[in-house]
């Protein structure tokens, strides 16, 4: 159950006052981030917006991982930044444990910021080269707690051993570590304040293949031990299938399909989801998947079509007078817990393009 039944995820029109689901630690409702890129001089003229995130709703459940996938520019990283408070939403609500984050008291906001931490993609640029590991991992403790220096040192040592590093390495600088070890430092820092949610922005894509499994397994173990919820942004579908319980596929700032990860991989319904799955690399040379490419290229998120954003990429015919060519279509719950944007031109079953993933037998 990804999105609670009692909650309407219909993104259009924005439904005010919908309650977030009870299982969710984070509920995102009708979240928008529009950047004005032109027009509107002195309040005159047509304003032009880059709609990076346009009406996105989903729930991150306790102790589970929610994956966001899509091509670059689909808005998945912006969504993550909005959750972390690094960007201010244009409209929409983020609920943390059922409470609207924007209306929290000062103490409540501090608590929220402590509880939601992040691990970034590139462990080479996300750690300050002039700080010792001790300072990097201890910084959040210094700022947000009243712990003494001695207590912080002990806690840093514990965090390092928990993430598979040696406590004596606390005195080293980031450049003295390999990529995988640096990512462990980033994870230790994220864990410092005992968060409940960690946003993971492509946490393994910059790492060597032999190290990726180590980091993914570490994240899975930490999730179990601490009851963490993760928001994972990734473009590698195999990583998403391994790590995530629930997922959403985004295109041009809009969620096209969402639900339980296994439900989506076993029965991808949207043409776009199928295109992504068919383009993903096989795990064995004998797996010959039918592969298809969508016509055209990803269009600019500046001034996207008023209706279904996917209509310029579909191989099926689009009736320009159809309701969904002029109005944003909602996510429809086609199967329990499996939501998809349904239009006459968006369903893979109508186009005969459903990808069936079969694994390689033997070995």
């Amino acid at each position: 159950m990804t999105i609670a039944e009692n909650v309407s995820t219909a993104p259009v029109p924005p439904a005010p006052g919908v309650n977030p689901s009870a299982d969710a630690i984070i509920s995102i409702r009708n979240l928008r981030k529009w950047y004005q890129v032109g027009g509107g001089f002195l309040g005159f003229g047509q304003k032009i917006f880059l709609k990076a995130v346009d009406d996105v709703s989903f729930d991150i459940e306790r102790n589970k991982t929610f994956g966001l996938v899509g091509e670059s520019g689909c808005g998945k990283t912006t969504t993550l930044k909005l959750l972390l408070g690094l960007e201010k939403p244009t409209s929409g609500t983020i609920y943390y444990e059922g409470e609207d984050v924007s209306t929290l008291s000062k103490a409540g906001k501090t608590e929220f910021r402590r509880s939601v931490q992040a691990v970034f993609q590139d462990p080479w640029s996300s750690l300050n080269p002039r700080m010792r590991v001790r300072a990097i991992v201890g910084e959040p403790l210094e700022i947000a707690t009243t712990m003494t220096k001695g207590q912080i040192a002990t806690r840093v040592g514990d965090l390092l051993s928990e993430t598979g590093l040696n406590p004596y390495q606390a005195n080293l600088y980031p450049h003295e570590f390999s990529g995988g070890q640096r990512q462990r430092i980033g994870i230790a820092r994220a864990l410092a304040l005992n968060p409940k949610v960690i946003a993971l922005d492509e946490p393994v894509s910059a790492l060597d293949v032999s190290i990726r499994a180590q980091i993914m397994n570490l994240l899975v173990d930490l999730q179990e031990e601490h009851g963490l919820a993760y928001l994972l942004v990734a473009h590698n579908l195999a990583t998403v299938r391994y790590m995530c319980h629930d997922m959403a596929v985004m295109y041009l700032g809009v969620v096209q399909e969402s639900g339980e990860t296994e439900a989506i991989f076993n029965n991808p319904m949207h043409i776009y989801t199928n295109a992504l799955v068919s383009a993903a690399l096989p795990s064995h040379p004998d797996i010959q998947r039918e592969e298809f490419l969508l016509p055209g290229e990803v269009v600019s998120p500046i001034d996207p079509p008023p209706g279904d954003v996917f209509m310029t990429r579909t191989p099926l015919e689009v009736d320009p007078n159809h309701k969904w060519a002029n109005e944003r279509p909602p996510l429809v719950e086609k199967e329990p817990g499996h939501w998809v944007v349904e239009t006459p031109w968006s369903m893979a079953s109508d186009a005969g393009l459903q990808v069936e993933l079969t694994s390689h037998e033997g070995v």
Partner: protein, 372 residues
């Protein structure tokens, strides 16, 4: 098969209402032949650093057949990229130096050529497609200029003939409206288009061998799929041998005919792609393949390779993989530098008790120690 896939792509470019291109044939097998176009013998490239000599490439042997894709797989620091740069003689000297070895291409040893002769070969008979298309293209020259440069040097064309050849190269990599695109600058193109331009430069002089150094790592999955398909088509049309350097076994599964797995500057296993996936013998190959999550099914907990890649200036004297191996062995087993042995036909593996689990089966193939 070459014609049919070719036609569908052409259709897509000219008439987008046709829509989706479905590749029912998959990639299939290419018409590889046994004609060797490139042969590398005992290549050794060392770097002098303040920590000591780094043997980035330490005695590597392989060959590439016409129309074949050889995948070179390994993690960063395994020497896979330095191998490629050595073939092009682009290793920065100092600190790097090709200490020993031979690279045979078109009846000549590239390592014995003068720098002037090598300039004629580089970008002509052998060319390279680099990883980052933004860095590989010069932002202040237009596309025709950059694609034309190699053609001007190697084919001595100019004026209208040069222009035609440039447009033709762009058309070969399926860039729509090549006449207009040729006048564009790199920033006007999308990432996928830029990577195609880099590809066009690579193929413009009809090379015998193309080295592709992780050309798709910075691309989205859908663009990556299109680009890989394109490379394969060009290969089928031109019969060019491709050396594909990657750390992604998905790309290997999709693109490669044969695979060489590198670890710490040496090849630990070489075979055809199916043997590598179905019957890997070296522990490192096994671990690499099994530690990747599968798209096709929900994977259980991934087996992980413990430890870190070795520091090349401080390699263990014998079997470099021994410190990360989970097999049972004595220090004596790992002390000898393991020789690359042909255990089955065309299946070579670095044989040692510390890295090969059914070592005993092949122990009789081990050359005597004093042979080396």
């Amino acid at each position: 098969m070459a014609e049919s896939t070719d036609a569908t792509v052409e259709e897509k470019d000219e008439d987008s209402s046709v829509g989706v291109v479905v590749d029912t044939d998959g990639f299939g097998d290419t018409a590889t032949s046994d004609e060797v176009v490139l042969e590398v013998k005992n290549l050794q490239t060392h770097f002098t650093t303040r920590w000591g000599t780094v043997k980035a490439v330490d005695g590597v042997n392989y060959h590439v057949n016409r129309g074949e894709t050889l995948g070179i797989v390994g993690e960063s620091g395994s020497g896979k990229s330095v191998t490629a740069l050595s073939l092009m003689r682009l290793v920065p000297t100092p600190p790097g130096k090709i200490v020993d070895g031979e690279v045979h291409l078109g009846g000549r040893n590239l390592l014995a050529l003068s720098e002037r002769e090598m300039t004629g070969v580089r970008g002509g008979e052998i060319s390279i497609i680099l990883q980052d298309p933004m860095q590989a293209l010069n932002p202040v020259f237009d596309i025709s200029n950059q694609v034309g440069e190699a053609i001007k040097i190697h084919q001595k064309l100019k004026g209208a003939a040069l222009w035609d050849k440039v447009v033709d190269s762009l058309r070969k990599v399926r860039i729509p409206a090549p006449e207009t695109r040729a006048k564009d600058y790199p920033h006007q193109l999308s990432g996928g288009m830029r990577q195609r331009v880099v590809g066009a430069i690579g193929i413009s002089s009809a090379p015998a061998v193309i080295i592709a150094d992780e050309p798709t790592t910075s691309l989205d999955v859908t663009i990556q799929a299109a680009y890989l398909r394109l490379l394969r088509q060009i290969q089928q049309e031109e019969g060019v041998g491709i050396i594909f350097i990657t750390h992604d076994f998905g790309i290997v599964a999709k693109m490669c005919d044969r695979v060489a797995v590198m670890y710490a500057g040496r090849i630990v296993e070489v075979s055809d792609v199916r043997t590598i996936f179905n019957n890997p013998l070296h522990e490192y190959t096994k671990a690499l393949i099994s530690s990747v999550p599968k798209l096709e099914e929900k994977s259980g907990r991934l087996p992980q390779i413990e430890g870190q890649p070795p520091l090349l200036y401080n390699l263990p004297p014998g079997d470099a993989f021994a410190p990360r191996s989970t097999l049972e062995f004595t220090p004596e087993d790992a002390a000898r530098r393991p020789p690359l042995v042909e255990v089955e036909k065309d299946h070579w593996v670095q044989l040692s008790r510390s890295s090969v689990s059914n070592y005993d089966k092949y122990a009789n193939l081990m050359p005597a120690e004093d042979d080396e």
